[in-house]
């Protein structure tokens, strides 16, 4: 692929992207600036606080995410009338566009939305739990662990169908490894980040070794996956992600009250009656599994889990049930948006979505590092 040939973005795509981006950001920003309005729900022995502002924000975010999914279904290389595209996706099974819409575009947007939600909620858990904006699954080695296992599998001639499973196992092993190495009478964010960065480079070396050691054609099969892409996503992928999300997201939601206590530091959490080590292990396990599921399907997509929770925190403040859901929705929006850009900005050349998230995330990560370098 000649990079120069894709250097000029299509003006109308660029324009449309910019408009959509501005609308999204200003809409979310406006709603987030409204006042907190707390109402209380009490039913017998059940009770909860409800922040109407967060409710509104989540509603708006949900609508935007659905709109992005609709755009993903409507736009594409293959010319499909916009309205027909939607009707085909929603109810018209007899349509002549059935294959393009329901076998290519629909699974793709569903996978992008779910993967974005998984990655962002995973990042939110890690960052809040460790009280450090640099701690996210991609920084502490979950992605590299997945990548090593995937690359090794393909290099030794394994089946592509096993790739998600290998990636999942690799991600979990890396997470456990980093956790064990950083554990020293508790977990400190700084140590976790440093060891994660170390493990990351070690695993990158392993990948490079495998790449030079094994036949190029096998290794190349892993290269596209490695950039992180929702290209060629199938309903099977969507199913894996959907099941993972439906199990892990509510599990993490229930654990949020424990997370909010652990945020206060080990001693205060213990004083308030938290079983510190057990609760933290559950939370890290759930967070790592959520990232692992996403990475297993879409590849080691960087920076979503790092950036999105930060943006969500700017809009909603510290973590609560409502802001957690918002973080997930924002993750879905972000990945869907990045995928739309990846698809159309340089059309007809399609970029892996990971290139877009990395292009946005790389500079962001550097800014963050510079801002927080005193903490490291």
């Amino acid at each position: 692929m000649n990079l120069l040939s894709i250097a000029s973005p299509r003006l109308n795509s660029l324009f449309l992207t910019l408009i959509v981006l501005v609308i999204t950001v200003s809409l979310l920003h406006r709603v987030s600036k409204s006042k907190n309005e707390i109402s209380v729900i009490r039913l017998g022995s059940l009770s909860s606080r409800l922040n109407k502002k967060l409710l509104r924000l989540n509603f708006v975010a949900f609508v935007i995410m659905i709109a992005f999914m609709a755009m993903g279904v409507m736009f594409g290389d293959f010319p499909v009338p916009k309205v027909r595209a939607l009707s085909t996706a929603l109810w018209d099974r007899e349509s002549e566009f059935d294959f393009v819409i329901n076998s290519i575009r629909s699974p793709r947007v569903v996978v992008a939305a779910l993967a974005g939600m998984c990655l962002a909620s995973s990042g939110a858990i890690f960052q809040s739990l460790i009280n450090n904006p640099l701690v996210s699954p991609d920084v502490i080695g979950v992605n590299s662990g997945a990548a090593v296992c995937a690359v090794v599998l393909l290099a030794v001639g394994g089946q592509v169908t096993y790739l998600p499973f290998a990636a999942f196992i690799g991600a979990i092993i890396a997470a456990v490894g980093v956790y064990v190495l950083s554990w020293k009478r508790g977990i400190a964010g700084t140590r976790l980040v440093l060891i994660g960065i170390g493990i990351n480079s070690l695993l990158a070396a392993v990948i490079t070794f495998v790449q030079v050691r094994y036949p190029i054609e096998r290794v190349m099969a892993a290269a596209r996956w490695q950039a992180g892409t929702v290209f060629g996503a199938t309903w099977d992928d969507a199913r894996i992600l959907g099941i993972g999300f439906l199990i892990l997201f509510p599990a993490a939601f229930v654990l949020l009250s424990k997370l909010r206590i652990l945020q206060l530091g080990d001693e205060t959490a213990a004083a308030l009656g938290s079983s510190v080590e057990r609760d933290r292990l559950f939370l890290l396990g759930t967070g790592a599994a959520m990232a692992a599921v996403a990475v297993a399907v879409v590849g080691p997509l960087g920076f979503v889990a790092l950036m999105v929770p930060q943006a969500a925190r700017l809009l909603t403040g510290t973590i609560t049930g409502g802001s957690y859901i918002f973080t997930a929705l924002l993750g879905g929006i972000f990945l869907l948006g990045a995928d739309l850009i990846a698809l159309h900005l340089f059309a007809p050349v399609m970029l892996p979505v990971g290139v877009i998230t990395a292009a946005l995330g790389g500079p962001y990560f550097l800014i963050l590092l510079a801002r927080y370098n005193r903490a490291i």
């Binding site: 009490r42 606080r49 945020q263 001693e267 205060t268 308030l272």
Partner: protein, 269 residues
């Protein structure tokens, strides 16, 4: 809130031995915390004040010895149940990023909440009460990082107040505060003990503040109790010399009548 407290508690430590894997910090210490009073643990730096407080609050497990809460070994009571009876504020608290005052204070209700019972009437009452006593009601929407040092300290105290425990342990709650803020916090704690019959245990390094505001003192030196009792009994010339190695004049505080320690010279010990 006071009606919800059990009328009295018993809180003792027996034959406590504590080390951090190295030399003994506390050795064979027996202590009884008088019910409904404000007790201060005093002593020189490194004498084991904070260590003792943390062991009493089961944050630190002693090598040997038992802390009894209402007659039961505190290590055998589920930690959440302990947290409904005993609150401790340790030193050097750090608030999470972008947390509001009311959010932080609400977290003190954790031991009383269940998964689907996150905001009961009692929770709301306790949090409002805590914010009111600490004078933070008007700041409740503010971010904790925007507050001054004295206000921050009050937020943390409000958090353990919201925990609504009969026993409140605080490790140097007045350190880094100027004198008006020190007085403000100590008067608040005394008022809590008087009005709501709570038992308060403080670690303080200012012996005069301790003598002025606390009804019971525990003087610690090198992991052992040297003296315990009313301030007039503990803060004496001989005692100050043996605890701090300080030759001092003890006069009567003209305002409160409590003993006031005026340092003269180090005895070189």
């Amino acid at each position: 809130m006071q009606s919800e407290h059990t009328p009295s508690i018993s809180f003792t430590g027996e034959d406590l031995h504590i080390s951090y894997g190295g030399p003994k910090i506390i050795e064979g210490l027996n202590v009884t915390i008088p019910n409904g009073e404000v007790t201060a643990i005093i002593g020189p730096n490194g004498c084991g004040k904070s260590t003792l407080l943390r062991a009493l609050a089961r944050i630190l497990t002693p090598d040997k010895g038992i802390v009894f809460l209402d007659g039961t070994d505190i290590g055998n009571i589920p930690t959440r149940e302990v947290a409904r009876k005993l609150g401790i504020l340790t030193q050097n608290q750090r608030a999470p990023e972008a947390v509001s005052v009311s959010d932080l204070v609400r977290r003190g209700r954790y031991p009383h909440q269940r998964i689907f019972d996150q905001w009961s009437k009692e929770d709301e009452k306790a949090v409002d009460h805590a914010l009111e006593i600490t004078g933070l009601s008007e700041y409740k929407e503010k971010h904790v990082d925007e507050l001054s040092g004295g206000q921050k300290q009050r937020v943390w105290i409000a958090m353990i107040l919201a925990q609504d425990t009969n026993l409140m342990l605080l490790d140097e709650p007045t350190t880094h505060l100027d004198m008006p803020h020190q007085i403000e916090i100590l008067e608040m704690l005394v008022k809590l003990s008087v009005d709501e019959d709570r038992t308060v245990v403080l670690v303080l390094h200012d012996i005069n503040m301790a003598a002025r505001y606390c009804s019971n003192l525990i003087a610690l030196k090198e992991g052992k109790i040297l003296a315990t009792g009313r301030p007039s009994k503990v803060v004496t010339t001989e005692m100050v010399e043996s605890i701090f190695g300080l030759k001092a004049l003890i006069i009567e505080d003209p305002v409160t009548g409590s003993p006031l320690c005026i340092p003269e010279a180090l005895t070189g010990k």
